[in-house]
Symmetry: C2
């Protein structure tokens, strides 16, 4: 970062609210935040990178499941493989709204796909995917679809003594594979839904079980507390599954997707969080108005 | 830290091995450890502070259980309350050797004692305990029974780009209450056995369930991987329940309790780890010979 802070942000209420909060948090007096308490937590899909038409992790997962269906065609009659074969996007959108049946079948399938792999093997697959697969609309690898203004916000927060964490419903180990290169965030600051691993014969191996709760909705503050021993001072999100995390923070920032020219415009899955922003006075980022540059 | 590194360590093989490892890890060439991989993990009981006659957390827990037995005398006929009332130390020593029945009854009792409390309430109780209760032999609060040479080792590691974590079978939240003041380690770098918490009505509340596995034996590398996404480069321990963590590290240091004048001399619960140290060439710290100062 050289020169101005939040350089890709337009002057406006969102930028002003962030700068005022950071100033208040670091200035002795009302609103001062003790250095140890300076935890910032950000959702990933739709907050740090593009989540349309589906969060990028689905692309990674679908490629694995396509291989599995090829190897065992009987899977094609069962969810979630059936929805994949039939291109039933509605099924997968159920995850964002937490349709329990869809979630259960997805988790089971996730578990099956990578049980028995070591972290090194899983990392290599994700890295191969980030290197070779491109988003259809933008024609670049997904890790290039990270919002530059948010990386600048990380810089600002770190420069003011905040530790920046990502806290996403997506896979912890999936995100950790690119967190350091893409976000400049160490793996240990990435919190997400995760498989349990067992240590056997000197190796860490992925099991078919989930560790703790899904990192969605109330699961977000639960995961943040378990990981850090605190609730966040600063939180950023963009969807209804972020509401509890945003409410648990002293300062909350909600990204509104209203830029169909440079990104996407949609409110689906964010209706309640947009209402909560109004009610609780959260800072709302209009991608269209508040960001001079998106990527 | 002023002046010499590892100032309370005597010249000798242990100090030499540590300095050589850190030098190798930070010098380009064979044995260089990438900055992101510089994770150091330390057991707590017997590695960072005194664990005789029982790990200090038992003192904290026993005081709570005594109150519970007073309130409900029928508990006195059940384990672990029975062992407490009858001063049956053997029962509690079973935990270190992982007697499954003792562990199960202990976990159940732990769960019962603090279910429903918020982190703030639990923290306050631990802080009251660290402030007021004194170790019988030494006559000082338990947090003053931390080994000064280990704090100097933290300083050395941090000065060389290592992130220092504590990874203990003891309670995560118990340790987090004093980690920052006592060790200079942020709560988020403290890993341990932990209750699950739920986020309800805007509050984080402790449940009666365990989150994941006990942080003992194979649970240690499992917890470290889950928390950090890596296995440790450097690990320190003192007991058989640390073997898997020590084996998972590139450099392992084992504390040998052989100083009954300044601390305690015992090998119980450490027989296998002392043999493993020999077999795998771990650095062994003789408290008697290698430490000029203990506290």
């Amino acid at each position: 970062m050289t020169g101005q802070v939040l350089a890709s942000w337009n002057e406006g209420p969102a930028r002003r609210a962030v700068l005022e909060y950071v100033d208040r948090a670091t200035t002795p007096g009302t609103g001062f935040v003790e250095p140890a308490d300076r935890i910032a937590a950000f959702d990933n899909d739709g907050t740090l990178w593009v989540e349309q038409p589906l969060p990028p992790q689905f692309d990674f997962v679908f490629r694995a499941w396509e291989e599995e269906v090829k190897a065992d065609p009987s899977l094609a009659s069962r969810q979630p493989y059936k929805a994949l074969v039939e291109r039933d996007q509605g099924f997968f959108e159920g995850l964002a709204t937490q349709d329990p049946e869809a979630v259960a079948s997805l988790l089971e399938a996730f578990a099956r796909s990578w049980a028995g792999t070591t972290p090194g093997e899983f990392d290599a697959r994700v890295r191969e995917w980030t290197r070779t697969v491109r988003d259809q609309r933008f024609g670049v690898p997904y890790v290039e679809l990270v919002y530059r203004p948010m990386l600048e916000l990380f810089d600002l927060l770190r420069a003011n003594g905040f530790r920046v964490f990502v806290c996403s419903g997506g896979g912890r180990d999936f995100m950790r594979a690119f967190a350091e290169d893409t976000w400049g965030i160490l793996k240990e600051n990435v919190i997400g839904s995760a498989a349990a691993y067992t240590y056997t014969d000197g190796r860490i191996v992925r099991s078919h079980e989930l560790l703790g709760s899904l990192d969605l909705g109330p699961g977000k503050p639960e995961h943040i507390f378990a990981h850090t021993g605190r609730l966040p001072a600063f939180a950023g999100g963009n969807a209804d599954v972020d509401i509890e995390m945003l409410r648990s923070a002293a300062f909350a920032l909600l990204v509104r997707h209203d830029d169909d020219r440079r990104e996407y415009a949609y409110t689906k899955g964010a209706e309640a969080s947009l209402a909560a922003a109004e009610r609780f006075g959260w800072a709302v980022v209009s991608m269209k108005d508040d960001w001079a540059t998106v990527f």
